[in-house]
Symmetry: D3
Subunit: 248 residues, 6 copies
């Protein structure tokens, strides 16, 4: 089984963190294909960055499917481009936020997502609502830029710890969800430190993707995720040819 993991931002070092997290939990027979989008912003912080990350993401998903991937994972906690990717692909596509929430729901009744920037908090609250978890999941921002997580000199990890402590005390959170793919390498450490379940969306998504493949399930194509209709495109995107991504 081959699972494509797309980092939809263009920072390769973050892809390495993501790949490492994915490979740690993959089944023996699962091949993880971790790719960095070749097009778009270096990090995704809020609505504007998402827009310019999605075309590159879709290119990678189309390429991956053609190359034989059995499932795809979008490794950004905003589940950037998830609906479009599902419409495009015939293989199942999993977002790391939805995977993290679905997984945590099996082990806790109340939990909190701790994410990076305040500007990502409301988009995540919107996802929480969409995934039916509003009554049980809160969202907090530690006020740390995404890339600061990779900077050994920043205080990003201290701020993250501090926000987790607040969530445990004030939200009575029973478990913590890490709200950024770039936090994946901290999972084990934070579990030990806080003594509660800490969930990383990348790892969770790998297991969900493997599950769907083994179960023989893929995206339903008779409703909102019907395959896109090929149609003419104009302007810059004419060269870019989005219509060609659509499998015949």
């Amino acid at each position: 089984m081959r699972i494509l993991v797309v980092n939809p931002n263009t920072t390769a070092s973050m892809t390495a963190t993501i790949a490492d997290s994915a490979m740690r939990v993959a089944n023996a027979g699962t091949e993880i294909l971790a790719v960095t989008s070749s097009m778009g912003p270096v990090s995704i912080e809020g609505y504007y960055d998402e827009v310019f990350a999605v075309p590159g993401l879709l290119i990678e998903i189309a390429k991956g499917e053609k190359a034989g991937a059995d499932a795809a994972i979008i490794a950004c906690f905003d589940d950037t481009g998830l609906d479009a990717a599902r419409a495009l692909a015939n293989i199942p596509v999993v977002g790391i936020c939805e995977a993290a929430l679905a997984t945590t729901a099996f082990i806790a009744q109340r939990f909190t997502i701790v994410t990076t920037m305040e500007r990502s908090r409301l988009p995540l609250e919107h996802l929480v609502h969409r995934y039916g978890m509003s009554g049980r999941c809160k969202v907090r921002a530690a006020d740390i830029p995404v890339l600061s997580l990779e900077d050994p000199n920043s205080n990003a990890r201290d701020r993250l710890r501090s926000e987790i402590a607040t969530a445990l005390r004030d939200d009575k959170a029973e478990a913590i969800v890490l709200g950024c793919a770039g936090m994946a390498d901290l999972t084990a450490e934070l579990r030990r430190e806080f003594g509660v379940p800490v969930v990383d969306g990348v790892a969770a998504a790998v297991k969900q993707a493997e599950a769907l493949v083994t179960l023989g399930l893929s995206t339903a194509k008779r409703g909102a995720y019907a395959s896109p209709v090929r149609k003419p495109y104009k302007g810059l995107l004419e060269d870019f040819e989005p219509g060609k991504l659509i499998a015949k």
Copy 2:
């Protein structure tokens, strides 16, 4: 006052319909600047098309703001790219779906959106939910491609009529919302024919945009719509330079 109206698909004839609807209801002192996106698909039907329409839309919004527009309207009923446009622009941005729903809520307790394709129905149900109207607004699809509305030989308008009749009978709809910018020119005719309020989102959005400008209100910038951070982009988008769209 200058109101920018962006047709985010690349079909100029549809922009003409939109501009006509906008100009009919604009105040005497309002200048309508209707533009066709120069980049993207010829029609927007579902999640996939949306992705490739948004970059072109944002370019037009940034250009329009720089050229002195006081507000911007996104003239696609999916409210395509609305959140990103609000983050980008300092002028207010209005979607035609949200404008139509907000307007209809002043005159009816129960109403129905009639849109084009089944694949757009669930995205619109999602918007209805987001705008707090789930309890009072249903969505129906007449199963007609967007561009067929412009084809005098298609039966698109008959199917639309038939679905409106069903909404009035089965949903007990008190008013009808036209779920596609390309239906704007039918508003008056359908009102006469069915004897109920029929709401066109383009016209509704013009009035909401004028209202915001006159009231001196623009997008709040302290939460989810904080201005995007300028950051490096890679790939095709490096030339495209999304960072340059962000006003300093």
Copy 3:
């Protein structure tokens, strides 16, 4: 175009504040007809006062419609008597709370209403819920009687400022809605002071009423707002003749 603005309490000085706010934002061709109800309490604070304000309000709306008004505004933030007014009138009727919320929803994802008395807080929470905004709008009371807003010796405005500051900090409000018609004259000052959008319902309602008139839309009459049936009345109300308010 003529817009009737009814102050449903019987304090003429508050009508002056309301009229001033309405006229500032009205279009060049719009005539504002601001009237004080001739019947009822001097201020509306909670459920009991509402009851005795509505008959006088309906009289003014019926008189205004007969005199040629194109739309009517109910200038009390409880949207007092709104449903009955819509059933009675054939012109559109707009409440200042619903107008303020609909308007603010175009520029902010999270916002807070700051109102006068605690006893008005729950009725407003009920409106917020009805208008589909529970997830994004909080309500706070500054604990100030309505008429104290007009008293230069009261500390009402200081308390209002203090509650706004709390809303910005604790609710992470992106915008503030002024929860009483009597606060309309403070809008500009508070915007400057707090640097966030501050929305006055009176001004917002004027723009919504103008919009409905220009769009040719009025209350749907096939459901809950069907015109009332004329029927016999007894007691004091026999002389008052509510049946005569109903247009034939």
Copy 4:
């Protein structure tokens, strides 16, 4: 114990039906004081009629409380004036819709209200939502004027039966709630005929009112139901003196 039952419409024959239903279920020691409002419309059908029924209703409640009633019931299925009555009175006040729903919730998971006119359907749906029963209770209108229930020559009762049959089949209703005080005398007959629980709000409210009195519970006065503030009134209502209804 003395329970005041106010018929807020001015049709004495309907009060007789209500009184009969109330007395059948009252405890041995309970005195039922059934009164007809002396002021307002002969029947309450929709929002407009409600407005003119409430002042007369509040007069009766104030009089009843002064005369020693231990609790009050508002015997109109719209729960007309309930919030204002609770603010005014120091004795508990019960609406027949809320009593019927609360009672039915103990014996069925899914149920349907069958009411009179279509124009009352949406106000009742609003109450159902307010009372937290949206997920389990539907509302249907049999399209019969309220007073036709008293007319032996009308087909009102046949239409009611037909709508109940539809509710049992299409809604999978487990129980039926009669959505008008004027249907109270049909309860026993309809139970026999349909073999399911049929709930009359008047009878249900008597038991709830008795319960509150025996339990020593009355309306909480520290929030939305704080006693109204006495204040000046103008116009017709000056003579009517609503301020005098408020107990010192």
Copy 5:
């Protein structure tokens, strides 16, 4: 009329407290049959204890119905086994949590349940949601074991008082619901002390049970509460013979 009150835990001294509360409010003609379950844990604190309390509870309900009880009350605030009891019995069955919430809803818009242990808080929040009260009722735990309420040397009652004070201040609760049958004897004292309505579920349930009996209403049997099908049982339960509890 005979009302069976089952204490589903096996602590007879708590049954005495419950019986006392029930008898204080029962009608003159009502006989209270208070029984202690003969099987199960000495107190019910959370999901695990509930499981082992239900079989004993159902035995008592079947015995009580056979012995002529007209209605049954489950006197544990978790409404332990309520759905199964309703399916089994032909007499109406009332839970003390649902009775307390339904009763309080008639006298307050916002209220708070104060219960014993944190592990019972989420099950009660779940009930609050199920009964449609999420928007108006909060749940707090005083962190006191159930049986400590009976221990004169524990500080349980002080902690309870302290949590009530917090609810009144922070939740703006208008009334307090006592979240454990073992608190019933404190009702009068706490009312005097805090000056707000304090509701005991046992007493509330007695009045609801009497109401249902007088109204001639019992559990609807055409949906979720259809009588169980008699079927073979294996293991320990074969001797216990649950099938025999089902009335033919």
Copy 6:
């Protein structure tokens, strides 16, 4: 890795069906321990049967955990006893309904559960609501007893097919969830026949259980699922000793 799969009814032939479904999808290194509860009803149809199935279920879960199982699955679509099992066990516990819904949510926006008996429909609607899927998942009953699925002479499978066809047409379901563990063997056949994703909860639960084990996640123990307190039990259950199930 060892996954315990408990059939909480006492019909061994159904356990065989369940075990077969589980083993088909288990990873190479996963050992499936399928056990039949030794205590309780032969099938679980509604609330009453659930009660008598749970003690036997908990015994098997405690035994399985002691014997080294890494996770446990409750193989009844009502998720019978799930909360109590989670409180009891230190290994993760997965219900087949929640696993099926969580899995289907990755591949479809709208879907329908088709279950056996009408009396199970409302309990399943309750689960759908609890799992946050009310807006996207409907429940239908094919009106077939659980054990008839095993009877080659019954028309159970035809009725199931017919109900699936109705769900696809009337609910616009994009995928079907089989609402009974006894339907697991039909999955592949129904997929071929209807050409849409068909989800079996047993298989889905195996993948979720494996995922949790690999991810190193187990039930959070600081909230509703805190380990039960050992306490005295009386009656039949004294011998049964539920306290002994609790790990020290």
